[in-house]
Symmetry: C2
Subunit: 497 residues, 2 copies
């Protein structure tokens, strides 16, 4: 591998990465700042950026460089960078630029249509956009090709090297063990603590949330927090990470756990290897691994009893009257209340994966052409009834609740369930390495866990695949046992099962 | 001119415009949102975008298209678009891409260095960056070429078709008439009304400011207002206009007039011809014409007695105790208080142009190599003493106060003085066409003036040059008489000269 070839390769890849950077900022801005009438021009601009990115990726000079570098071969970071660019390039070479641009513009406009449709609870407004988007995405899948199910072409964008043929049985076995646990818990019919049903000043919620973000080790000089309809972690790389949340005056911890979740994503981004900035090695491995970070901080840390030993008095200083007399155990039970509920992002740890399985199944039907877009609201509601025994009162709290499909993120949902599995399995390994994590959390010390994640996961960037990483850290392939044992033990105690 | 050639031309130009769009949003974000550590990657990304823009602009296919379309000739919008792209292309063809990228990255980093230097009042921190930037800009000027003074190469980016050989005498004659007026006013030594020296709640300042922006006809669905160190109007075109301001608790109207000023810019942007979006016709004519809009709204409208007849009671409803008993005449005098002051953006209408002349003169010396960057602070302070009889206590309120040089905007300042001249001359024409504007303003009616500006200026986009526009609307070339008569009459009355 010649030095000068590799450096020309890096220069070209970094330039493309900067187009992605611009796209990332425009997308963040679209969710947080952009005025209403800006949508059309935004879609146009994002489309042009996607088109230029595609053009640069498929530039014959870069194709030659990649092939020559790949043939020369190497096992270090350069090898990873070449391998990953080649992967993306092979995909891009099969796609006409027009389709890339049209898909990007349609995503951006479909997203705006979804915002409107959700606001006015009118699936019909969104339906033609989703149909159009899905049609374009299937054209993309057919163009890039896939082995096995067409769904693999979708999955590949979010969870590289994963296959639905392996994932579906894993998630099905998860469901088999989850359903009786959920049933046993819901049978207890435990009532909510009425002290938490009241108004919670939003400004104080925000102040506490910001304090927690800092406590967990997020670098405020390399990131920020804003408000958006749908919480997310965006931005452009380790030095500029954008978290968002939304506040509800009638919920004390809904925004908080969203914040901790996005902080988990943000800590991963801030820990990526900066010396490889703009190259694949400085990117996250997959969305599943990304989600393992957010879910570990949200659930295994944020919803632990030990976390609240430290944080409850701090939260009480923001809400002294409202939380007077609430004990750590009561708070712990409150933030771990299991219920059949409508909204995925507010679901507890136990029912959450059923929300995902519902979406995963509908997605597979959609892309296989077995389900029509028009039938989605009905099927959604049927499945909610079947899995959780409840039915959305309207589409805004049903099929329209999530941003994903409107943004072209079909095939993304199962990475959430994978994230829960990865998180549980990694957390078992962390406990083995770090001793009594609960005692640390109870003292407000999460720094050792963060350092461990930095070393084992974040700083390695994209050097390993998701399966390699899990095997390397835990010595085992991904399974469902760690997650299920964790859930059965924790909720078995809370619900005295 | 063939239909298909022109449509390929438009597609390519719109794609480039989208790169500019992304750059515009990244720059806005850099001023309003970006966390500190994001600066390096931002500079990198802006550099890549500038480089790609340059590459597309100088693409041989676009060069051929432009030459063929230009040779075919036409007098309509297509002709304007081809003419303006050709102008930019001729310039770009003379610039190596490396220089474009380096200039962009240096601007972005120099800007961050300026923010730091200004914050810590340390010109030394900024000096090497300004030296580097100036060196790069002179290389650019030499590469693109110029007639007459090298300063024309700088000016051309901001005030197309203008020449320093014509502008300098015009501004010198302005100075000759301004100096005795300033002296006569300052001789009165009129004391400030002590009722305005107090704390003014910032949240109420902001609420009133937002109300005024709406009153003046700004479309909130196509724009927003944020806070930045240096107020500006940015964004990406008619449907997404970003105004910024800053608030000072010890100043009632400093932020307000900044807001009205930026709203003037914003109204221009929102009024550009949307059907030509992404093409030169949908761009403003020049910074001088842009500034004529901001200055007209800020001064001829916002600092008129009639405006305050309507707005004072409204402002009093935000500050009922603080402004109890203040009359319209007192308010009018307060917002037109003339004083020798340090900060350009807070200067009154009369002394303002002297601030500009100082910068204009230093800039000419810098680019001609007659002044060294290291000597700027000293020369700045000397000149302030000479023109206004005061000397900055430190560089933060002296040579470091403005954003422009740090962002590569050398040659920009004189467009502010031109803006004042254009504004005065256009306003005389508006008065002739629209009858008693004062009576309208006193009733809170500014809509007829806006409609007139929409028709005469905004909706015409870049179809005319600045001189053509002024000639067309006022029947005369640009002069200093209208501005000076306006100032002499208004301040003659206020100061009983």
């Amino acid at each position: 591998m010649s030095e000068s070839q590799y450096s020309e390769f890096c220069e070209r890849v970094r330039e493309m990465s900067d187009l992605g950077y611009a796209g990332g900022m425009l997308s963040w801005d679209q969710e947080t700042c952009m005025p209403k009438r800006g949508a059309q021009a935004r879609a146009q601009a994002l489309g042009s950026l996607a088109g230029l990115y595609h053009e640069r990726m498929t530039d014959p000079r870069l194709v030659d460089l990649v092939e020559e570098l790949a043939a020369a071969g190497t096992g270090d970071d350069a090898g990873t960078n070449v391998r990953e660019v080649r992967r993306a390039q092979q995909r891009a070479l099969r796609l006409p630029k027009d389709l890339v641009v049209e898909l990007s513009r349609t995503q951006s406009l479909a997203h705006e249509a979804w915002v409107e449709a959700r606001g006015s609870d009118d699936f019909g407004q969104f339906q033609p956009w989703l149909e159009k988007l899905l049609g374009l995405q299937i054209r993309v899948a057919e163009a890039v090709g896939y082995e096995g199910s067409v769904y693999n072409a979708f999955l590949d964008e979010f969870e590289p090297y994963a296959r639905v043929e392996e994932m579906a049985p894993l998630l099905a076995s998860l469901r088999q063990r989850l359903v009786p646990l959920v049933a046993a818990i819901l049978e207890q019919d435990r009532k909510a603590d009425p002290r938490f049903t009241r108004e919670w000043d939003v400004a104080r919620q925000e102040a506490f949330g910001r304090q927690v973000i800092g406590d967990l080790g997020f670098d405020w000089d390399a990131g920020r927090l804003d408000v958006s309809v749908h919480p997310f972690c965006g931005g452009t790389g380790p030095d500029d990470v954008r978290l968002t949340t939304r506040y509800q005056a009638d919920e004390l911890t809904s925004s908080l756990f969203g914040i901790i979740h996005e902080t988990g994503h943000g800590l991963y981004e801030q820990g990526l290897p900066r010396d490889q900035y703009g190259l694949p090695v400085c990117e996250s491995i997959s969305l599943g691994i990304h989600e393992s970070q957010s879910r570990m901080w949200e659930n295994m840390v944020g919803r632990s009893r030990a976390f609240w030993e430290h944080q409850l008095p701090r939260l009480q200083s923001f809400f002294p009257d409202e939380l007077a007399g609430v004990s750590v155990d009561e708070m712990y039970r409150e933030v771990n209340r299991v219920e059949a509920s409508m909204i995925r992002v507010e679901a507890d740890e136990v029912t959450y994966n059923l929300h995902i399985l519902l979406r995963f199944e509908l997605e597979q039907g959609l892309v296989a052409g077995e389900i029509a877009v028009a039938d989605l609201p009905g099927l959604w509601n049927e499945r909610m009834q079947e899995y959780l025994g409840i039915c959305p009162a309207n589409d805004a709290e049903g099929v329209l609740q999530d941003i994903h499909w409107s943004s072209g993120l079909m095939g993304y949902f199962p990475t959430y369930a994978l994230g829960n599995l990865y998180a549980a399995q990694l957390f078992v390994a962390a406990r083995q390495d770090l001793g009594d994590l609960d005692a640390q959390f109870a003292r407000g010390e999460t720094a050792r866990l963060l350092a461990w994640l930095r070393e084992k996961v974040h700083s390695r960037g994209k050097r390993l695949t998701a399966s390699e990483l899990v095997q390397d850290i835990t010595g085992r392939p991904l399974g469902i046992d760690d997650l299920m044992s964790y859930l059965e033990k924790k909720f078995g105690e809370i619900y005295s099962l």
